[in-house]
Symmetry: C2
Subunit: 604 residues, 2 copies
C-alpha cells in the first residue's frame, strides 16, 4: 500500500481478525450495525482524508492562523474538512440516536480518526474536541443543556473546547483560580484566564462552547472545590433570540513547533464582568466529571502519535523503494548499478521498527476503544466494572506508547530520507514537528506515569494487575499451541514474570511510605509496561495471522500480508522487547539519585 498514509488491509485485520469488533453488534446498543456499516464509515473517512485533508496538509502549516483585531481566521482547509466531516455524519456517528447519532462503536469512530488524522493531524483536533465536549454535556447536562448546546455541536453548527490549564497551574489542576459567582437567575459570572486552548478561537462556526473548570465563590480549596461550566463564546440574548457576545476574549495565540493549523489560544473570560456560565453536573464535582472525558481524550492523543507515525512510515517506505543509492553490502561489483535503499539492512531495520510501532500501537489503542464500547453497551455491572478497571490501567499506557513511540517512529521515518528528510520538500519534516506535541497533550508522559504506578497499579490491592494478567494469559495460552508462536508466548511469559517481580519490589518501596522514592522512576516503569503491552498485542496479532495462515487457501497478496504480520511480530520480540532488560535493571536498582536534598544540589 505504498503511496498512501495508512494500510486499509492492516486496519481491517486489526478490527476484524484481531479485535473481532463485529461481535459488538450483538449488543442492543450497537445492533443497527454490522461489519458492512463499519466498512462504509471507513470508506467515507478515506474519501475525506484523501480529497480534502491531505491536499491542505502542507499549505495549512505554512500559513498558520494569526490573532488579528481579536479575531482568528483558520485555513480554508479546516472549513472544508469540518463541513464534510459533520455533513457526512462522522462527527455525530458515535452518539446516541436521540441526538442525531448512529450509535456507532467508538472503536470504529477511532479507526476513522486514524484514517483522517494520518492525512491531517491538526484538522481532527476540531472534531475531536467538539465530540469530547458534547459527550460531557450529554453525560452530565440537563435536558435543556443537551438540547441547547450538545445538539448543535453534534450537527456541526457549533464547536467545543476544554478549558483546563491556567498560567499558574499547568498540570496542577488543584490550583485552578478561575472564579464563578452565582447569580440570582441560577447562572454564574465567570472570571479568569485559560491558556493553551486548542481550537479556542476560529471563524469556522458562529459559536464555540467552552467547558471551563472554575471555583464557585466559597468552594473548598484544592481539587474538591472545582466545578465545570458551560461557557459559550456567544450566548443567546435574554429574549432567547439571537447570539450576543459572552465576554470571552482571545488575548493571545501561541505559535507552536507544529500542529499549526490548530490555534492554541490564551482566552480571557469575563474581563468586562459579563461572562455567563452554566453549571454542568454537580457543583464541586468538576474534576471527576472532566476526567471521564479526559480518558477518551488521552486515547485520542495516543492515536495522534500513531496516525502521524503511520503517515511517516508509508512516506519513508515509498522513498526507500524508489531511491537508488549505494550497492548491497555483499555486492562484489562496486561499479554496478545502485540498488534502492530498501535493500540495505539498516534502512530495513528503521522501516521495520516503524511498522512494529505503528501496527502495535494502533491495535493497542483500538483495543482500548473496544473496551470503552463494551463498558458502554454491557448491562452486567460487574462486566462493566471489569472493563472500566482495565481501561483505567491501560489508557495512560496506550496514550504514552502512542505519543513517545510515535515520536521515535516518525523520527526514524525522517532518518530514512537522509538530508531530504530535514527539508520541507518531504512531509517527514512536518510530521516530526507535529508529533512532538503528543507527549505533552492531556498530561505529559511524567503525569501519565504517576497515574499508572502511583494510582492504578496499587489500587484495590493490585486488582488491575490481576485483570490484566488474566487477559494476557488467555493469549499466551492460545499461542502455546502454535509451533511458531510458542517461543514468543514463552518469551512474553518470562518477561511478564520479571515485570511482576519488579512491580512487587516497587510496591514494597511504596509500603515504606516515601512516595518520592517509590515514584522516582515511574516514567521508566511506564515505558517498561508499554513495551510489554505491545509485546502482548503483537502476540495477539500473531495468533490471528497464524489462524488464517493455517486454515485458509490464500491469494499471494494475502499470504504476503499474513506472513509479514508474523515477521513483524518476530521483529518486535527480537528488537524491541529486549529493551525490557535495561529498564528492569534500573527499576530494581535502589540507588536514588533524583531526590531533592536541601544540602546538596547536583544540578548546576
Amino acid at each position: 500500500m505504498v503511496g498512501t498514509h495508512f494500510s486499509r488491509k492492516n486496519l481491517d485485520f486489526t478490527l476484524f481478525d484481531v479485535l473481532e469488533i463485529e461481535l459488538l453488534a450483538q449488543f442492543d446498543y450497537f445492533n443497527a450495525h454490522d461489519s458492512e456499516t463499519f466498512s462504509m464509515v471507513l470508506d467515507a473517512a478515506t474519501d475525506i482524508a484523501e480529497k480534502i485533508m491531505k491536499p491542505a496538509f502542507v499549505d495549512s502549516d505554512r500559513n498558520q492562523p494569526e490573532l488579528l483585531d481579536g479575531q482568528v481566521k483558520v485555513h480554508q482547509g479546516v472549513h472544508d474538512y469540518y463541513k464534510a466531516f459533520s455533513e457526512i455524519g462522522l462527527l455525530s456517528a458515535p452518539f446516541s440516536f436521540d441526538y442525531g447519532g448512529q450509535q456507532l462503536p467508538k472503536v470504529v469512530a477511532a479507526a476513522a480518526e486514524f484514517i483522517c488524522g494520518g492525512a491531517h493531524n491538526s484538522f481532527v483536533m476540531y472534531s475531536d474536541l467538539t465530540k469530547g465536549a458534547a459527550n460531557l454535556i450529554l453525560t452530565f447536562g440537563s435536558d435543556e443543556q443537551k438540547e441547547q448546546f450538545a445538539r448543535k455541536m453534534l450537527s456541526g453548527e457549533w464547536t467545543g473546547t476544554m478549558c483546563l490549564t491556567e498560567t499558574q497551574a499547568g498540570s496542577s489542576l488543584s490550583d485552578v483560580a478561575t472564579t464563578a459567582t452565582p447569580q440570582p437567575d441560577g447562572t454564574y459570572r465567570i472570571k479568569g484566564q485559560k491558556i493553551f486552548i486548542s481550537a479556542g478561537d476560529h471563524d469556522l462556526t458562529d459559536n464555540i462552547i467552552h467547558l471551563v473548570l472554575a471555583r464557585i465563590d466559597g468552594a473548598p480549596k484544592g481539587t474538591k472545590g472545582i466545578s465545570l461550566f458551560i461557557v459559550p463564546k456567544n450566548r443567546l440574548n435574554t429574549e432567547g433570540g439571537h447570539l450576543v457576545s459572552n465576554d470571552v476574549v482571545s488575548i493571545g495565540i501561541y505559535h507552536k513547533m507544529g500542529q499549526k493549523a490548530t490555534p492554541a489560544m490564551h482566552l480571557e473570560f469575563g474581563g468586562q464582568n459579563d461572562c455567563v456560565g452554566y453549571l454542568l453536573g454537580e457543583a464541586n464535582r468538576g474534576l471527576p466529571q472532566m476526567f471521564l472525558m479526559m480518558n477518551g481524550a488521552r486515547l485520542g492523543v495516543g492515536m495522534g502519535g500513531i496516525h502521524i507515525a503511520s503517515a511517516a512510515y508509508y512516506a519513508s517506505l515509498q522513498y526507500a523503494t524508489e531511491r537508488p543509492q549505494g550497492r548491497r553490502l555483499n555486492e562484489k561489483n562496486a561499479l554496478g548499478e545502485p540498488t534502492t535503499i530498501v535493500h540495505h539492512p539498516d534502512v530495513r531495520r528503521m522501516l521495520l521498527q516503524q511498522k512494529a510501532i505503528v501496527e502495535g500501537g494502533l491495535c493497542l489503542i483500538l483495543m482500548c476503544y473496544k473496551f470503552l464500547d463494551i463498558e458502554r453497551a454491557e448491562q452486567d455491572p460487574s462486566v462493566k466494572q471489569y472493563y472500566n478497571d482495565l481501561l483505567e490501567l491501560l489508557t495512560p499506557v496506550a496514550k504514552t506508547f502512542g505519543a513517545e513511540m510515535g515520536m521515535v517512529a516518525t523520527n526514524q521515518g525522517l532518518q530514512v530520507l537522509g538530508g531530504y528528510g530535514y527539508t520541507e520538500d518531504f512531509i517527514l519534516e512536518q510530521l516530526a514537528r507535529d508529533v512532538r506535541i503528543m507527549s505533552l497533550y492531556e498530561g505529559t508522559t511524567g503525569i501519565q506515569a504517576q497515574a499508572v504506578l502511583g494510582r492504578q497499579i496499587p489500587r484495590n490491592g493490585g486488582k488491575a494487575i490481576d485483570l490484566w494478567l488474566t487477559e494476557v494469559r488467555k493469549d499466551i495460552e492460545k499461542a502455546q499451541n502454535d509451533d511458531v508462536l510458542q517461543t514468543y508466548a514463552t518469551l512474553l511469559e518470562t518477561n511478564i514474570a520479571q515485570w511482576h517481580k519488579t512491580t512487587q519490589h516497587l510496591l514494597s518501596l511504596a509500603a515504606k511510605g516515601d512516595a518520592e522514592i517509590f515514584l522516582a522512576d515511574a516514567t521508566l516503569y511506564l515505558e517498561l509496561f508499554g513495551i510489554l503491552n505491545v509485546a502482548w498485542i503483537w502476540l495477539k496479532q500473531g495468533i490471528a495471522a497464524q489462524k488464517t495462515l493455517s486454515i485458509a487457501r490464500l491469494s499471494e497478496d494475502a499470504l504476503q500480508f499474513y506472513q509479514s504480520k508474523v515477521h513483524t511480530m518476530r521483529y518486535y520480540y527480537h528488537y524491541e522487547l529486549p529493551k525490557a532488560q535495561s529498564l528492569t535493571q534500573r527499576l530494581t536498582d535502589d540507588t536514588n539519585l533524583t531526590l531533592f536534598d536541601n544540602d546538596f544540589e547536583p544540578l548546576c
Copy 2:
C-alpha cells in the same frame, strides 16, 4: 550557572582537570601558549556569544534567507558574527603562524566553538566550513593556492564550503558525476550540480571558495576516479586584477526544519561551460583527501549536538528552578504553596540525563580534539600513528553520541517545560528543530555505524580495539584505588568484557563472509559502543573530581561542583549504562529479520 547556555566552570574542569590540556604547550608547535592564553580565547568566544550571537538567535530563525533573483542575503546577525569572529582572530587561531594563525590547539578552538555554537548553532557553520576548507588547501594545495585562497579565507575576506553530495548519489560518493575537463592552461572546466551545500551562497563576503569533488575525463570509475577541485564563486580575471563570475549559480535553496540561518544550497557549476576549477592535491585522490577534513567535520557535528543540548539543559534548568507547580509527592498538605518543579524527581531525572549527556559528550569530543593536537604536534611517527588509529575509531563514535544523544537531551529539555516547550515563547522549540540535523550531517548515523563496525573494529586484526582497551584500562586502574570510584571501575570493566565478547561474536559472523548479516545491526553496535565510551569518560571525570575533593580545601561552591560531578557520574552508571544490557541481548541474538529476501517482502 543558570541563565546562560553553558557552564564555564565545567568547561574549565574538562579542559584542565580531566584532559590536562596545558600539557600541550610542551610541544614545540604549541609553545606560544599556556593556560592563560587558552582562557583568553574562551573569554573572547564568550563575549561574541553573549553580545552578538545570542541576540540574533530567534530573529534569524524567523527570517530565513531566500533565493531571490539568483542572490541569497543572510541575516544581519551573520554579518556581525563573521566580522567579529574573524577580526578577533578566532577564525585563524588554530592555523600556523605562516598563514596568520596562532597555532592554537584545536581542542581550545573546539571549546570556543562549544561556547559560540550553544549561543547560535547556525552561525558557527560559516566559520567551521571555512576553517575546514582552508585546512584542506593548506594540507594539499600548492604554495600559490595557499596564498591565493587559504590566506584570504583565514583572514575572513572569503568563506569556504565543501561540495560533495549530488542528487543521484547522496552518501554514495562513488557515484559522483560532476566532471572536470582538462584545459591547456592546467586548469579544468567543471560541470555538474551539487546539493545540500551549507553556506553555499550568501552576501557575507565577495567570494566563496568551493571545494568540489569531480571526475576528470577518462578517470577510473568508482571511488578511485574522484578528484578534488578548488572552484571559486568568482575567479580572478586573466589580468589577475578583479573578480569575475565563475559560472557557479544558485539554482535552489532548501527550506529546513531548523538551522535556518544557514542556507543549504543547490548549486550548478558550469551551466554556461565557463566554470574554472583548480586541481587540489593529486588527481584521483579526492576522496581520501576529503576524508581527512571530514574527520574534523564529524567531530564538529557531534559538538553541534552537544552545544545545542547544553543550551537546552541550562534553559530547562532555569525554567525548572523558577516555575512553581504542584506539591512535593510527600507533602501532606495538598493546599500548601506550590513547589518549583525542580523538586519533582521525574523532572530532576530529565535534568540529570541532560547534564550527563552534555558533560559526558563534551568531554569525549574534546578528548578527540586533544588527540588531533597530539597527532599534529608529535614528532615520533609511532605515537602519531597511535593517536591516528584511536581517532579513526573514536571520531564516528563521538559524532554519533553527540548527534543522537544531543537530540535526546534537547528533547528532554523541551519536555521539562511541558506545553510551553512546544511554543515559540521559549528557545527549546527552536533548539529541538536545530539539533535534528546532526544525525544526518557528514554521514548519517547508519553510515557512521558501518565505518565503525565494518572498518575500524576489524582493521589490522583488531588493533584499534587493543589501543582503546589500553587507554580505558589506565583509567579503570586509577579508579580502583578510590573507595567511591571502585564500584564504577568494576562496572565499567564488566561491561567492557561483555562488549568484547559481543564484538568477537560479530567478528566471527564477519569471518563467514556475509557482510549484510555482519553489519545488519551496526547502528545498535555503535550505540552500545558510544554508551561505553561515555561511561569511560565519566569515570575519567570522576577520577579528576575525586582527586580535587581528596586533597584540596575547597570553597563551598567548588565543593558543590566537584560533588555534583561524582553525583552525575553515578547517575550515568545507574541510569544510562544499563542500556548496554538490552543492546547486548539484541547483538548476540542471531535471528536475522532485516535482510532482503527476493521471495518475501514483510514491508507493506
